[in-house]
Subunit: 159 residues, 2 copies
């Protein structure tokens, strides 16, 4: 594997997942105090996603070419692993209670070029190439409406 290069979809690294609900640090261990843990998470180079009580982080997909926000969903540890292994975005469906690959039925997969993580590591940004409309409504982006001046929703131009 090459270090420090932009990832290709077929070259996503294996990631060491360190869940937040791991064993608590031993008392008086300065290296693992909550403040220190926060510093590590915010400034460190270790990917240690901060899963919520349901074992999920929020993930947003952004189109590599247009920069447009495409969709927002959730990932558990397995979804992250599968995304890395396959190069295609996988999520955890909270409504269906199962792992799913975006586009598994429509063919409109999201090819993941890069994964970014936010400061406290409870959100991921997937930079993707989309094989078709990202939204199940067939819109290019799930965010196809904006709030108009009168408070109603109106379609975003071109979607």
């Amino acid at each position: 594997m090459q270090h420090g290069l932009r990832l290709s979809a077929n070259n996503l690294p294996r990631i060491c997942l360190i869940p937040t609900f791991s064993a608590p640090p031993a008392p008086h261990d300065a290296a693992t105090t909550p403040a220190n843990q926060q510093d590590l998470r915010e400034q460190g180079s270790v990917f240690m996603p901060r899963f919520d009580s349901h074992g999920l982080v929020t993930a947003v997909a952004v189109d590599r070419t247009s920069g447009r926000l495409l969709m927002l969903a959730h990932m558990n540890a397995e979804a992250i692993e599968r995304t890395r292994e396959t190069g295609h975005a996988h999520f955890w469906s909270r409504s269906r209670g199962r792992l799913w690959m975006k586009g598994e039925s429509s063919g409109h997969v999201l090819r993941v070029v890069e994964i970014r993580v936010d400061c406290d590591q409870d959100a991921l940004e997937l930079i993707v190439d989309a094989a078709g409309p990202a939204c199940h409504t067939m819109a290019q982006s799930c965010f196809y409406r904006r709030i108009a001046a009168d408070g109603s929703l109106e379609r975003v131009a071109g979607d």
Copy 2:
């Protein structure tokens, strides 16, 4: 108010908030079946955010000029209202259990130019002009690290 125009930060509309936990539809009322409700939410022109059991929707802020994803947070009905009233992004802090205006202490406010909503109305996209770094770490974006080929985190160039 003008209809159908892109919103300015000082001209954000008042929004009729229809919580999902309102009274259930009467049986056999075709206009309010769950499927019909889903159609209304996905295709209609009424803003009816789908709050979770904590009364929250997810909100992501995107820079109007660069298109860059800046941060991800949560909003309750009051945060949405305050955002519209003031033109500055307000969120609900889950850790602190209170409403906060982004930049209330740092001055790095987010001026909201437009609000978009996703298909099932449980996520908002705020298109913003940022008065400074969006992240409390002083990075321009909270998503300042990416997963490198070796699985470690590396800083995104220019942030």
